[in-house]
Amino acid sequence: MTIGSAGSSIVVPRNFRLLEELERGEKGIGDGTVSYGMDDGDDIYMRSWTGTIIGPLNTVHEGRIYQLKLFCDKDYPEKPPIVRFHTRIKMACVNHETGVVEAKKFGILANWQREFTMENILIQLKKEMAASYNRKLAQPPEGTYY
């Protein structure tokens, strides 16, 4: 299921869309290897989120837990959120100094559509970790942060 894609002209406004994502995140996603939640329960505009990805099996990331920050501005979901790794990682689409996921190197952000969700981004990043050009890259020490 993709949130907000009615296949028709009905547009779920930003805040109600984020409330849907919040509830979905609270229920838990799939096998639990990706998850997300809101940072500040008092922020009525629901801007700051933390995502977590458990490194995929049979890669250098296996057994590691990666924390990310997602920032949904007022123009979300017309525009994608700003996505930044908090946990240090070496990966083709991630700026090695800031941890920012660079949109032009990461398809889902480069070709963003309104129906895409934070869940989609995290799942896609997990797949990206297991891609041939990422799965064997030497990684920074575990538990270090940007």
Partner: protein, 159 residues
């Protein structure tokens, strides 16, 4: 165009909301999205929300009227059935929804909820506790009333 296939029922409801607004309630659709309403509810007299102007947002999902409208407060409010994100715990927005209800009835119910909180079905345990203790003591000085009035002054003064 986002609004071209708007069901007749929604058009009718909108027209009536605009031409005959319920006392203390205003609701108008946004220009870009006719299913998305900016709502204002005045705090009912003789409630701790009196004098407050509360902003809400309302969205009619695709399934409306088979499914309830989605509504939440944008103005911070101290109330046992409204959480920090402005989400409202009200039976007609959930399992007691019926297609015979309308946007107007939903907003009137929310206005009534401000006058008569339902502490047995709280979203906020803390606030409900304060409300109950206040009801038991039946004194103006209860923690609930003081805080609810204070928040109304701070966040809902309408300026």
């Amino acid at each position: 165009m986002a609004n071209s296939n708007l069901p007749r029922r929604i058009i009718k409801e909108t027209q009536r909301l605009l031409s005959e607004p319920a006392p203390g309630i205003s609701a108008s659709p946004s220009e870009e999205n006719m299913r998305y309403f900016n709502v204002m509810i005045l705090g009912p007299t003789q409630s701790p929300y009196e004098g407050g102007v509360f902003k809400l947002e309302l969205f009619l999902p695709e399934e409306y009227p088979m499914a309830a409208p989605k509504v939440r407060f944008l103005t911070k409010i101290y109330h046992p059935n409204i959480d920090k994100l402005g989400r409202i715990c009200l039976d007609i927005l959930k399992d007691k929804w019926s297609p015979a209800l309308q946007i107007r009835t939903v907003l009137l119910s929310i206005q009534a909820l401000l006058s008569a909180p339902n502490p047995d079905d709280p979203l906020s345990e803390n606030i409900a506790k304060h409300w109950k203790s206040n009801e038991a003591e039946a004194v103006e000085t209860g923690v609930f009333l003081i805080t609810a009035k204070e928040w109304t002054r701070l966040y809902a003064s309408g300026v």
